[in-house]
């Protein structure tokens, strides 16, 4: 008898929990008809730092749009699910967003790794898939017509650096280079291309190894790089801790390359500075299409609103924020032009060769969906304050300042 009571209670607990959940579900639908945009972001897991920066970028854009009358007179509502940085969860999330939540539009997740499977889901349902963080060749390899990356195509990231090295007089030109890279679809194309181009320009490769992305201890790898005494180090990193581990091990080995470029990490603004220490950042370079100090009216306005909301300095704004924001802007322009939320029309419009504007500069998609207008820059942290994040390359660009070369010794 007592056992049965317990069973009933147990079932009751479960039923109660489900009831609460269903009630919460019912309560969330409302009478007005906002435009619902479905997004899956890595709010926990390996990419959570980037995922949360993306969330800020998308929300900053949505708030701006909503405070300026919305799109087609309708308010914008973001339906954000967390994918915990898992490619399988990202599939499930976009399927749910499209088939169950009936979102009007979808925006991309963070990183090529998650963009590839999710663009396929969107394609299956005929949704336009505009994203800001899936620029690696793998994202375009399938030839889907619905994928559009507003950011700089990844493979060309290091091209300004290569051109600059080629332009140096022979006496100043680096002789040797090391290329440690993590096994990631984003970094490997970047590093491969940089290596090929620099080798062709006569810079000898003295170290080229791939290391696992999930490592916790990079010091032996960094020590091997330090032992080569390479003139420049081009690091294929995806995140801040990798960069910081290499920097620390280099300093411990009294090794300071003439130039240190990391594929990603130093572009994360204050998140980078707080991890490695402000003084250590002096001279560290990173490729990218945008920084918080970018001289563009839209960008300046966005940075101002970002700082008003989250604090910090322009140099401290994560480039992810601008990437996400640009996605919103591009879709906004397409929908406004079409006067329709039809995804087919958005795809057609974005493929028409029209030039759109974004906080990252002009956007024009080529047949693959890459932003052919995007210009690559190299940025460099200068000084020991951790607030001076300067565009240094290409030298021909009027906003570029003088590059620090050779890089000062760590922490001076």
């Amino acid at each position: 008898m007592k056992g049965h009571l317990k069973q009933l209670l147990a079932a009751g607990v479960m039923a109660g929990l489900m009831g609460v959940a269903l009630a919460a579900c019912g309560g969330s639908s409302s009478g007005s008809k906002p435009i619902v945009i479905g997004i899956s972001l890595s709010l926990s897991g390996d990419f959570s730092a980037d995922g949360q920066a993306y969330q800020r970028g998308y929300e900053l854009w949505a708030n701006y749009v909503n405070s300026h009358g919305g799109i087609l007179g309708r308010q914008v509502k973001l339906d954000i699910l967390s994918d915990a940085s898992s490619p399988t969860q990202v599939d499930t999330n976009y399927t749910k967003l499209i088939s169950l939540d009936h979102v009007n539009l979808v925006f991309g997740p963070f990183s090529t790794l998650l963009t590839v499977p999710s663009s396929e889901i969107a394609h299956r349902y005929g949704y336009a898939f505009v994203e800001g963080a899936g620029g690696a060749p793998a994202a375009f390899a399938k030839g889907l017509n619905n994928i559009f990356d507003v950011s700089l195509p990844v493979a060309d990231y290091m091209v300004p650096l290569v051109n600059w090295i080629k332009s140096l007089p022979a006496s100043e030109r680096p002789k040797t280079a090391a290329y440690p890279t993590s096994n990631d679809p984003f970094t490997e194309p970047v590093i491969e291309k940089a290596k090929d181009l620099l080798q062709a320009a006569g810079v000898k490769t003295v170290y080229s190894q791939v290391f696992p992305a999930e490592d916790t201890d990079y010091s032996p790898i960094a020590q091997d790089v330090a032992a080569t005494k390479a003139d420049i180090v081009v690091l294929g990193s995806v995140d801040v801790p990798t960069v910081s581990a290499f920097m620390e091990a280099f300093e411990q080995d009294h090794y300071s390359p003439k130039a240190f470029v990391a594929a990603a990490g130093p572009d994360q603004g204050s998140a980078f500075v707080s991890a490695v220490g402000a003084a250590e950042t002096d001279g560290v370079m990173v490729p990218g299409g945008w920084s918080g100090t970018y001289q563009n009216a839209q960008s300046k306005a966005m940075v101002k609103r970002y700082i008003a909301k989250y604090g910090g300095t322009p140099a401290g704004v994560n480039a992810d924020v601008a990437e996400a924001y640009s996605v919103g802007q591009v879709v906004d322009q397409a929908v406004t032009h079409n006067k329709s939320l039809s995804n087919a029309k958005i795809i057609k419009y974005l493929h028409s060769g029209v030039i759109l504007s974004s906080v990252q500069g002009p956007v024009q998609f080529n047949a693959k969906g890459e932003n052919g207008r995007a210009v690559g820059f190299i940025f460099q942290w200068q000084g020991t304050s951790g607030t001076e994040f300067k565009q240094v390359l290409p030298t021909s660009d009027p906003s570029s300042v003088k590059i620090l070369f050779p890089k000062p010794y760590w922490g001076n």
Partner: protein, 292 residues
């Protein structure tokens, strides 16, 4: 050749710190049959405590351990009181994994709310500096960390083998029931063991935070190393934890240097499987003292 020696030296220095973190895990497991999945996140919690002391109060990292160890001891006692001692006797080990995982998630969540997911790293003059010895640069932090780990491991060893309390722990480790029969308060010993096992992560966490940039998620990668060390070293064995941790780090560092970083973990795991095939109880584990 140099990179081989560098790998070996690194392995010894960093291995000792991992041994210290794993020592807590193996002690808890040996005495209580509890697999504390939260050990990894406690390391991260300790690193954050050191961070707060260093950044907001200007307390040196090594001095800060004097505060973080007691703090983590209390955290351990609290977790034991709230969750561990409430575990029913049936399927205790299985359950401990599920429940300490929930604890790990709770701690991780609290850390995320307070510190955000952005990475930080502990800073001090000895973190980035090194001295030159026999052709190698030895980072001060590794040497200091190694020294501290050896001292603390020795302290745990002395406690286990030279004190009354240590005898009670060892008795409980060998046979709970018999220990109870000879008048040992096994529950109290368990609680204190859990506290001590968590407290030693404070020291390990400080060195971890000084050598690696970390965020609240970092405990996830750490736990896999700690568990591997415990099963390689053998259950409840301090010496086993030390030997296992150092050989693990050496194997990984050397393979990364002379072959490829992509293979370093695989080679270690292959070695682990080999050892388990030959000695299922691990390097220093007693065989079947409590087998069914």
């Amino acid at each position: 050749m140099t990179s081989l020696y560098a790998g070996l030296i690194d392995g010894v220095l960093t291995g000792a710190v991992y041994a210290l973190m794993a020592a807590g895990l193996t002690l808890i497991f040996g005495v209580m049959d509890i697999i504390n999945i939260a050990q990894g996140v406690f390391v991260v919690l300790a690193a954050y405590l050191s961070y707060v002391l260093a950044v907001h109060f200007g307390i040196d990292l090594f001095v800060g351990i004097l505060f973080t160890m007691p703090a983590l001891f209390l955290v351990g006692i609290a977790v034991d009181w709230a969750f561990i001692r409430r575990l029913p006797a049936r399927d205790r080990t299985t359950m401990s994994i599920l429940v300490t995982y929930a604890v790990a998630i709770i701690v991780e969540g609290v850390l995320t709310v307070i510190f955000s997911v952005n990475y930080v790293q502990l800073r001090a003059w000895y973190v980035t500096r090194s001295f030159h010895l026999l052709g190698f640069y030895l980072p001060y932090i590794y040497v200091f960390g190694f020294g501290m780990a050896v001292v603390l491991m020795a302290a745990i060893y002395l406690m286990l083998y030279r004190t009354r309390f240590g005898r009670s722990i060892r008795a409980s480790l060998q046979n709970r029931q018999a220990a109870r029969l000879i008048g040992i308060n096994v529950d109290r010993v368990s609680t204190l063991t859990f506290g001590i096992g968590v407290a030693v992560t404070a020291a390990g966490g400080m060195v971890f935070g000084a050598t690696t940039a970390f965020n609240p998620n970092s405990g996830y990668d750490l736990i896999s190393r700690l568990l591997s060390i415990v099963i390689l070293g053998g259950l409840g064995s301090m010496a086993g934890a030390m030997v296992a941790a150092i050989s693990m780090l050496m194997v990984e560092d050397v393979v990364a240097s002379v072959w490829s970083p992509l293979w370093s973990e695989v080679v270690f795991f292959a070695a682990l499987v080999l050892v388990l095939t030959l000695r299922p109880q691990g390097l220093f584990g007693r065989s079947f003292s409590r087998a069914q």
